[in-house]
Symmetry: C3
Subunit: 358 residues, 3 copies
């Protein structure tokens, strides 16, 4: 089965534009009965598909798209030559329409016979526990939860209603997860925080007594790690979205509806506000506080608290040829020399002025 047949997996479904947009705040310009059988991007679309324009980089493809309909905002509507689904937030409307075309695995409520279940553990009969899962003691798994295969859940943990763990997730002890939260494969939640006390040159482990408290509607990416708290819990509030390969240290608190891109790192006891956006590979120092509604651009090192909403950055950006880079780099390391030369110039000029006055 090649790439084409995979692409055709969407093709068994079909809806009218009117069905797809029922209940959404949109205006349709064109034929509301137009049949839509799939989704594709503007410049690789085909008749029968719906497409979307959410990034101005791709506006140039609007004129030539083969799609039967395009989701876009008012300002682009006139340039659209096919059926237009006009709305204020095309990416959100696209998200809602795309749900019609998902083909996710449907999990039947059951505990796979190979799963190993601890004692004093409650699993709701509507939950699905995948093959080779290992569930600890005193665990509570709520209705419609899905635990992917080869996952491990530690003692005293709680998985809230309709939450979904993909395959190969680790939940340590004392991790509380809310409702409708999704955790991708390889994520590790509740591992010991990195606490070691140095006594005479030797590092001694500081017991990590806390758990992790994760809210509702949280999304945690593949191979992301979240440590348990040292004393109290590490806290991830409702609606937080974490990408892949993010490290969250012990006792971090991430406020509701904050979104963090891949490869970021958040050191222990940092407190991040609500509705923040943190760019990829950004590093947040421990024990600092970031206000609500802060945006941190990618690759930023946040080395101190930020008390006001706004956009923040650090360092230097701008990729250049390595030849140019070497010059920049050398100039940077000669900044002290430049400063001294300016000081000399200022002194010389001062002398001139004084001599003139005479």
């Amino acid at each position: 089965m090649g790439s084409e047949s995979l692409r055709n997996m969407q093709a068994n479904k079909q809806y009218t534009l009117s069905e797809l947009t029922s209940g959404l705040e949109v205006t349709i310009k064109g034929d509301v009965n137009c049949i839509i059988t799939g989704i594709s991007i503007l410049h690789q679309s085909q008749p029968g598909h719906i497409s979307f324009l959410t990034n101005s980089l791709y506006r140039k493809h609007l004129a030539t798209t083969q799609a039967s309909a395009v989701i876009l905002s008012e300002k682009d509507a006139n340039a659209c030559t096919v059926n237009a689904v006009i709305c204020k937030n095309p990416y959100y409307i696209y998200a809602k329409i795309a749900e019609f075309f998902t083909t996710s695995h449907s999990f039947v409520p059951n505990i796979h016979p190979t799963a190993v279940i601890g004692s004093d553990t409650h699993i709701d009969p509507t939950a699905h526990i995948g093959a080779h899962c290992v569930i600890g003691d005193h665990v509570n798994i709520a209705a419609r939860v899905v635990i992917g295969s080869n996952s491990t859940i530690g003692d005293f943990s709680i998985i809230g209603e309709a939450s979904k763990l993909d395959a190969r997730v680790t939940i340590y002890n004392k991790v509380m997860i809310g409702k409708r939260t999704h955790i991708a494969s390889g994520a590790v939640i509740g591992s010991d925080g990195f606490g070691f006390a140095n006594q005479n040159g030797v590092w001694h482990k500081v017991p990590q007594l806390g758990g992790v408290q994760i809210g509702n509607d949280v999304d945690i990416g593949a191979n992301t790690t979240i440590d348990c708290g040292a004393v109290d819990h590490t806290i991830i509030e409702d609606g937080v979205k974490l990408d892949n390969l993010i490290q969250v240290g012990h006792n971090v608190k991430i406020g509701a509806h904050t979104i963090i891109a891949g490869c970021a790192g958040i050191a222990g006891s940092a407190v991040i506000g609500k509705n923040c956006m943190i760019g990829g590979a950004s590093m947040i120092l421990g024990h600092i506080t970031i206000a609500d509604n802060v945006m941190i651009t990618g690759n930023t090192g946040v080395n101190k608290s930020i008390s006001e909403a706004g956009v923040y950055s650090s360092g230097i950006i701008g990729v250049v040829t390595n030849q140019e880079f070497k010059k920049n780099n050398a100039r940077f390391h000669r900044l002290e020399n430049l400063t001294q030369r300016i000081k000399m110039l200022e002194l010389s000029l001062q002398k001139f002025k004084e001599e003139e006055k005479k």
Copy 2:
């Protein structure tokens, strides 16, 4: 079961201050028979709990803490209005006292019936092999070892006495692990080093023949990866502490009692000394050598060998508003222009001086 009841999990235990500090070098100011039932942080403490002051950021909470006792150093003792456990190294003393309040799972010595064990493999009868583990051939698992569920151990590997692997750990072939070493979930030890030889535009794999040698009392964080050596072994000496999501390339050697924070990367054949401290997200170039007792601050790119003990850094730090950042960034890229302008000023001034002499 909510957050409160989890917090109360500690509450079944109780000790006197005197019992908690027995054998430790501390001076108690106050009631040595005071009953302690749990641990909490200074500003969220309650009567019956012991707290600690190890970071000056939190000193302000000392006056108002509700704790029954506080672990702190001499200089803070006078400001303490409750029972004081006075010592030279409060974080270390805290670590020792916190051990009384850990509630870790106790593993019974057994091989779970779902575990799959290879041939010519020796497992000590006091070891615990978790559910769904897969242990290879010619493996040696020593006394009191715990292998967490869903872990895989490759052929010819050795796990030393009382070492503990959490759930979902991968140990490849030819990995030797010492005593009392702890490996967190998702860690991968002994994967092939990244060696490829380019011949006519195509990369050919260079076989990775070595193993990994890990000492005693090492701690390896969640989802951290350590590659096997290309010819000889990759070496992690005694007492090394590695945080989460760290990459250790082939043939790296990390000296005893060195500690490395999360998201760091160490390229192949780098040699790091003993008792070093390496900050989070630091990147160490391959084939370089770092002396003993070197401290690398976070986010540093170590691009050359460091031959003397000391504190080292690179680049630029300091988060600012994006507006300010854009100015900084532009100024940096205009450094050549600044240099030329200084040169012009110097020439002009030189001319003036020469004309004056006339």
Copy 3:
């Protein structure tokens, strides 16, 4: 069994120099019948071993090596006092010779009885499915494929001939993998891309409908993550080599024979050309395009498209003492002040000149 006995695991094999180099473009200076029993590095070699010189850092050890033969290039041949295997590309020739000394586990064709296999799934009788694997529905596993233990393969995925997944790999749904591709432990392929649409302060998941298409002879490192496409597929072309802990976002395309070092991150919809080399911890912005034959040095932030082959970098490198760093850092943040002082000097000088003219 200690380190020495592991080292001796190679020792059961022996070949003549002539056997080891049969079919390779090399010139042997010395005894073609010399018996070789193992491989070691130049400065830790022993009689009977073959060694290699591929990095000029190690040339100093050529004079004192105890190896019986050394693989090296013409220019180093005269300095070699033992048997010399002279060739144009010593690292490639070393790779070919090292294959004789690998001791990898041989997998018998079988489906382990603990593996759980879905419906409508085809597994070639010559394939090996490890213990505790979970294979989904409509999966196709070709001849001589090896699936390591505790791995999970999602529905509608395809694993091509002779590809090898190590232990604990996750393949999600709709992932197509070519022939002879190798995936290390902990890697996660096909997790949902990081797509969320913000509506009134709440992030809504954007369904990720695409798959992942991976070519032939690809190598994917430990704990590396590759997201599925949002609409179309994420694409990794033939011969691509990815190190450990790399994040590849949705709809990224990586061209054939490109190699990427550890801890790098590639944001969604970035397109990377063929035959590129991307240094460790480099971060590639989303939606940009990088031409063929581009080399990106380590730690670079690529913030815009690169349209021509060449070597590119960003930022500042050079580790220094923290004392020196603090000065550099302060100077950088005073660049505006420097610029103003230069401007003042220029104005003063201008005045002088004007006054002189009078």
